[in-house]
């Protein structure tokens, strides 16, 4: 870990700091691309976990979180900044990591930083006619500047995808068209029953075969990150549930962990156990729904009804203890909101054998079903290298053989005290992504089984005194939610409200994976591919 840092510091004049066990390198904007390329080439930093845009007041900056697929635990942080002008610019790193393509578009959308050599500098979430860059501190939120539009966006960008390239020390602004004029393009979404939310895909077809896919986001962009800046930490908690609502409890856990780490708050053992059990129950519920809707997309409504029936049992358990069904609103900073219901242990114990029995049934009826196999076998290959480069974490990446489970890499809560397997499959096909969810349910059941009898007695909440104020600094926490690595980055200036909060959505990279694997498949398989990645759109759009 020491070596690459010293090397980069020497070669590129980087300033090295240490923050919570992570090394941070601050680089000049001219060097960022070269340093990143060097790290990737020489030291195997092949996974760009996330990019955080920042407004430091007088400069704009970007923070890169890098990791190696061979040694995933330590993260390396690169920082750079550029002056705040009308046209701030940085060099793009999307030739090194595919995941940067969407990340950089996001930074551009929110902060207006143009990335030189990025092939596609369109806004990602907001409409192209939006005024201002909302996450800049001096953004003018006057609703008159951006009234509710009455017309759909005119998708001119089909003709004009802007980009900036550097050639012989001169910047050249170019536009290119995304599709040819005689290409046959089908709009898919935003209101489409098989889209699992409001994603809009523009699919270029050759007969029945997909040539390319252009995803359009932002139909549920709620501006959560900006909202966080005006809410206090306990208030932000309820927004985290509503990002990826199917793993809401886990997201909330991540935010709580991040705050607790910053405050140095001791969380009672009892709360940690309860949180872990809740997380795993959430994962089961989410996978059941993902599985059910995937089967529904294949035409099997029965599976959906079965999945929802089993999921309802978990919802009942949640409701009894936490009061909420889908949004349990249960973890709070310092523990959990209230103690578990006296029936909780009994109910969970009843649920485990029930779920096991049902899993047998699901495998019997659906996994082995020839129609289902016909639609899933041999389709949608995603290679391991591509999965890493795209950053497709979670079951989507593990189905391609990439070990990326945070519960194993960086155990949080009580995952280091339980015995479970990280489910890995080697083939990277649609069928693998299907089976991996069912297998993960089994592993979650195993975890719950080991924990449910060991919930220690004692307090369930260690409430922080007074108003929660994180000490000034930057904090980072990642957890494994049902779809992959969910990360929280908080920059605090020591106030009751954060300066900047960034959530890494595992689903955004899953859509890049869809974009990657869809070409050469039939349009009917596109639906199956989308379902197999199981993304949740509000998590992408935030």
């Amino acid at each position: 870990m020491k070596e690459p840092i010293e090397k980069i510091a020497e070669l590129y004049n980087a300033e090295t700091t240490e923050n919570g066990g992570r090394y941070e390198l601050t680089l000049a904007k001219e060097n960022i691309h070269d340093a990143a390329a060097y790290l990737k080439r020489e030291y195997g930093y092949d996974f760009l976990l996330e990019m955080v845009g920042m407004d430091y007041g007088d400069t704009l900056g970007v923070i890169y979180y890098l990791s190696q697929s061979t040694n995933p635990a330590p993260l390396l942080v690169l920082k750079t900044s550029t002056e705040k002008s009308d046209y701030p610019e940085l060099y793009s790193v999307c030739d090194l990591w595919d995941s940067a393509e969407f990340y950089e578009r996001e930074v551009y959308d929110f902060f207006g930083i143009m990335f030189i050599n990025h092939p596609d500098m369109r806004r990602i979430f907001l409409r192209s006619d939006w005024n201002g860059y909302p996450l800049r501190k001096d953004y003018d939120a006057n609703p008159e500047l951006n009234p509710i539009p009455h017309r759909n966006e005119f998708l001119v960008d089909m003709e004009r995808v802007p980009s900036i390239t550097m050639s012989m020390g001169k910047e050249i602004e170019t536009t290119r068209s995304l599709f040819d004029h005689d290409e046959y393009i089908v709009n898919f979404g935003p209101q489409h029953p098989a889209m699992h939310g409001v994603l809009h895909l523009r699919v270029s077809l050759d007969g029945e075969v997909v040539k390319s896919v252009d995803p359009n986001f932002g139909y549920i962009h709620r501006g959560v990150e900006k909202l966080c800046e005006r809410y206090t930490y306990p208030q932000i908690l309820h927004l985290t549930d509503r990002l990826d609502y199917l793993s809401g409890t886990i997201n909330r856990h991540a935010f709580c962990l991040c705050c607790e780490k910053a405050l140095g708050l001791e969380v009672p053992e009892r709360a940690v156990y309860i949180r872990t059990i809740f997380d795993e129950l959430t994962r089961i519920a989410s996978h059941l729904l993902g599985w059910g809707s995937m089967c529904m997309d294949m035409g099997s409504i029965t599976a959906f009804i079965y999945g929802m029936r089993d999921r309802e049992k978990i919802m009942d358990i949640f409701e009894e203890t936490a009061g909420g069904r889908l949004m349990a609103n249960y973890s709070v900073i310092g523990g959990v909101a209230n103690d578990i219901h006296p029936n909780f242990v009994k109910r969970v114990k009843e649920f485990i054998p029930y779920m096991r029995k049902m899993m047998k049934e699901h495998h019997l009826f659906f996994t082995g079903n020839p129609i289902a196999r016909g639609r899933m076998d041999g389709i949608g290959y995603l290679s391991k290298e591509k999965a890493i480069s795209i950053g497709a974490t979670g079951p989507g990446g593990r189905a391609s053989g990439w070990r990326n489970d945070i519960r194993k890499i960086e155990p949080y809560a009580v995952y280091d005290k339980v015995d479970f397997e990280e489910v890995i499959r080697a083939d990277g096909l649609t069928f693998d992504r299907y089976v991996i969810r069912l297998d993960e349910i089994e592993q979650s059941l195993r975890i719950i089984e080991q924990l449910i009898d060991r919930i220690p007695e004692g307090a369930f909440l260690n409430k922080p005194k007074g108003v929660v104020k994180l000490p000034a600094g930057e904090y980072f926490q990642r957890v494994e939610n049902a779809r992959g690595q969910f990360c929280v980055h908080i920059t605090s200036k020591g106030d009751a409200k954060p300066y900047r909060v960034k959530f890494r959505s595992p689903c955004l990279t899953l859509v890049s994976a869809l974009k990657e694997v869809a070409p050469t498949h039939k349009i009917a398989d596109l639906i199956m591919l989308g379902a197999s990645f199981d993304y949740v759109i509000p998590c992408i759009d935030r």
Binding site: N146, I220, R222, G223, R230, L239, L246, F304, R325, L326
Partner: protein
């Protein structure tokens, strides 16, 4: 003429809230009176309509999951004849607005609504659809769908429980039952 029966089986009339506005409708119908033949046809049509409302599948976020729960095994809205969820607005009677509506989505929702055939109804499910909910202060969120399209039933909650959604559906059923099919109250103009 005896004015229609707005009872819902197994639920007492008094147990419903907001009965006053239905009574207003009924009073108006009584005053104006219709001939028995038309009245009977009207009752028959409304009986049919209120028991087979076809919703449009339109879910943008979290509330959509609760809507799916209402459709699935546990609470099953097929009991009330609502199970035929349509994917095309042209075949749907009611749009359930489940979830946050943001600026970019607003024109899409408006267009979907305009594509639906009359008589059409709108249910705003969840605080987001009612007022913007937890995201009210956001720069990109529409503060309630009534800014774009008229709403018949509001179902509060974040997300509303499936029971609440069922209750809201029954309220809409009752509303349909007291409408004069031949003289449907003019749908409010869509704000430009």
């Amino acid at each position: 003429m005896e004015v229609k029966d707005i009872r819902i089986p197994n639920m007492k009339y008094e147990d419903f809230k907001d009965n006053e506005y239905l009574e207003e409708y009924v009073d108006e119908l009584r005053k104006n009176g219709v001939n028995i033949f038309v009245g009977k046809i009207n009752d028959f049509l409304n009986w049919g309509r209120s028991n087979s409302v076809w919703p449009l599948t339109f879910a943008t976020s979290c509330c959509g999951i609760e809507f799916m729960c209402v459709g699935a095994a546990h609470t099953d809205f097929a009991r009330f004849g609502w199970e035929v969820t349509r994917n095309s607005p042209r075949q749907a009677d009611v749009v359930f607005v489940c979830g946050t509506i943001v600026h970019k989505m607003a024109p899409v929702l408006k267009r979907l609504y305009e594509q639906m055939a009359e008589p059409k109804y709108v249910m705003a499910i969840g605080s987001c659809a009612i007022s913007g909910g937890p995201f009210k202060n956001s720069y990109h969120v529409v503060k309630g769908v009534q800014e774009i399209i008229p709403v018949d039933v509001f179902i509060p909650g974040c997300p509303p429980r499936p029971d609440a959604i069922l209750y809201g559906m029954m309220q809409l059923s009752r509303k349909i039952k007291v409408q004069n099919f031949f003289k449907l109250p003019g749908q409010p103009e869509i704000a430009e």
